[in-house]
Structures are given as structure tokens and as C-alpha cells.
Amino acid sequence: MKIAYYPGCTLKTDAKKFEESAIKVFKILDIELIELKKWYCCGTVYSLTKDNLMYRLAAIRNLIKAKEEGYDRLTTLCSVCYNTLKQANEMARNDKEAMNKINSFMDEEIDYDGSVEIIHPLEILKEDKIREKVKKPLNKKYASYYGCLLLRPKSIAIDEFENPRIMERIIEACGGKAINFPLKNECCGSYIVASDKQAVAERCYRIVSNARRNGADAIITSCPLCHFNLNEIQEEVKRNYTSFSGLPVLYFSEIMLEALEG
């Protein structure tokens, strides 16, 4: 199977190991991620104010690129990009008035109508196929951290928004143990890290400690921003709480690669 792939800024830089491991994992599972020939920043978590459509243009332009290149499905690894593209696509499907304005504004592009389907890589993976391909079963306990943008708002959720299980099923298909982790859908503090690092350190402390108390050896995630806030910010937490002992934070594709490559 082939599927169009939108990388976004961080997958090419800070989260390069996420992209590299995911492309390898998908290849082993006979899924080819084909990067769009041309793409721009998705516009990230744009302003939610109702009267300003300009913020949605970046996401819509990327969806047009996918359509121009002949794709009707598009996937992206970063949770922020996923949320942005999916929400913009929902608007394209449901708000005709807004789309008329956007389409007439972008008069050099083809019109967009919401016909590209945005799908998260976690939704493509099939457990049976993973089980078949595992060479070295994982023998550790993992906490699956979803954060906010894969699950909310409800209309874009990749799984049940209060108790998602999609990553747990993948861990178990790879032979690992998925622990119970009540804070799996609690926000890590997101971009607040740019304005108030201490507030994010408090989030990191609470989430990582909770994973540890529930017996995790590591936390897995699918978001470069969650990865930063839960991993790098642990240094800050150690300064605030001397008894704090951290946990490794990995992308779901990294542990999958470990199991599939053997």
C-alpha cells in the first residue's frame, strides 16, 4: 500500500529519528509513505477565532498540494500537523461559506472541497500484520501517551477520546506490556514551554511520575512537542524535585522498529 505523507517542520529536524524509524517500520509492514513533492508549514495550532480565516490557508494549501499530486488520502506523523490538517479539512467539508471565501481568495489554486482524507499513521497499522513481522518481542512495560491533539476535539479523534487504546494494541502486538496510564490523554503543556517553562515542568513531573508509579519502563508518544516536554524538560523537573527519577520517552515507531528489526 502507498500513502501520501506530509512531514511538517519538526520531522525534518528535531524529530528526525521519528521520521526515519516510522518510514522503516511502515516499509517492513509493506506500506510506503510517499512524501509530497511540495509542502509548506501546516500553520500549526492556528488561532481559533471565528472571524479570521487567514490562519487556515496554510493547511488548505497543503491539502490542495496533495490533491494536485493525485492523492485522496494523506498521512502525517506529527500530532500538531495531524490536528491542524484534519481540523482545516473538517471546516472544508462542513463550512461552505468559509470555503467559498478561502477558495476565491486563493484564486491561483484549484478549489478545495475537503475531498482528501486525513488519516493518522496509527490508524493504518494492522495488529495481525505487526504480529507476523515481529522478530524480537519487546520485553518491557510501556505507558502510551496520547496527549491532546490526537484525540480532541472529538470530531478529529483517532480513537475513543477518553480512553484510547490504539498504541496499547501496537505495544502488545510487538510483544511488550502496555500498562494502565490514567494521564495518557492529559495535555503536556504544549507550546506554553515557550512562555512558561516551569508550568510545563509541573506537567512533566505529574505525567512522568504517574507513568512510573504505574510501573512503566518507558513512555511512548507520537508528538514531537509532547516528546520535548516530557523528555527534555525532565532536567528542569530534577532541579525542582530532587527525588524525581525520570523515564525514557520514545516515539512509538522507535519501539516498533526495535521489535521488527530484531
Binding site: 506529527c78 495535555c187 512558561d196 506537567r203
Partner: protein, 117 residues
């Protein structure tokens, strides 16, 4: 006046809120706030402009937890955004972006989107 402005910017019906506090109970950033999310709504309804200068809208991580759990379907995330917009549209930036080092791109770009006018 304030309530009308917030409703116009957010597209949400603030008057639907019956102050059950479920938003504040589930808010991951509540500890860092000077007004809790349900209190913010109350202040807006009372026309108390103090809420525009409060810390709460800026510490809101826009994670949609509150709106997802609201029994009246009020998306408080959008109300926080409206309060930010009232400030930002006066061409005021909440943070200086040029000093942001050692952060991943996604944090810098997102912060620029949410914190600058």
C-alpha cells in the same frame, strides 16, 4: 459588551454555561491560573474586564479537554482564544520570540501563532 465581543470572536454561546465546574476540574493547567475556566466565564458574563488582563487565557494550553467534557457543549478553548485575541489585535505581542532558543520548531512556530498579534 464584553460577553458579546467574546461570543463574536469565539462563536460560542457563553450563556449556556451553568457553572458546573467540570472544565476547571479537568483542566491540566488550572493550578497555574489566577482564575479557573468556569470563573473566567462568570467574569465575562458580569462584564468584568479584569479577565482580559488575567493570566488564565495565556496559560491555557488549548488542549480542548474542557470543551470536550462540557455538558453544555461550550468550547471554552475558543473563549480563551477570544480573550487572547482582544489583546493581540491591539498589535501587542505576549512574548518576545527572538529569544527563544533550544526549543523544537514546533514549539516556536506554535507559540508565535498563539502569542503574537
Amino acid at each position: 459588551m464584553l460577553a458579546e465581543k467574546v461570543e463574536e470572536l469565539s462563536g460560542e454561546n457563553i450563556y449556556a454555561c451553568y457553572q458546573c465546574g467540570k472544565c476547571s476540574a479537568g483542566c491540566p493547567m488550572a493550578e497555574q491560573m489566577d482564575f479557573l475556566p468556569n470563573q473566567v466565564i462568570l467574569l465575562i458574563l458580569r462584564g468584568n474586564e479584569e479577565v482580559i488582563d488575567s493570566k488564565t487565557p495565556w496559560i491555557c494550553a488549548q488542549c480542548y479537554q474542557c470543551g470536550t467534557r462540557c455538558p453544555k457543549n461550550v468550547d471554552i478553548t475558543k473563549i480563551m482564544e477570544a480573550l487572547r485575541a482582544i489583546k493581540l489585535r491591539k498589535n501587542v505581542d505576549y512574548i518576545k520570540m527572538r529569544f527563544k532558543k533550544n526549543l523544537p520548531q514546533i514549539a516556536v512556530v506554535s507559540a508565535a501563532r498563539k502569542y503574537t498579534g
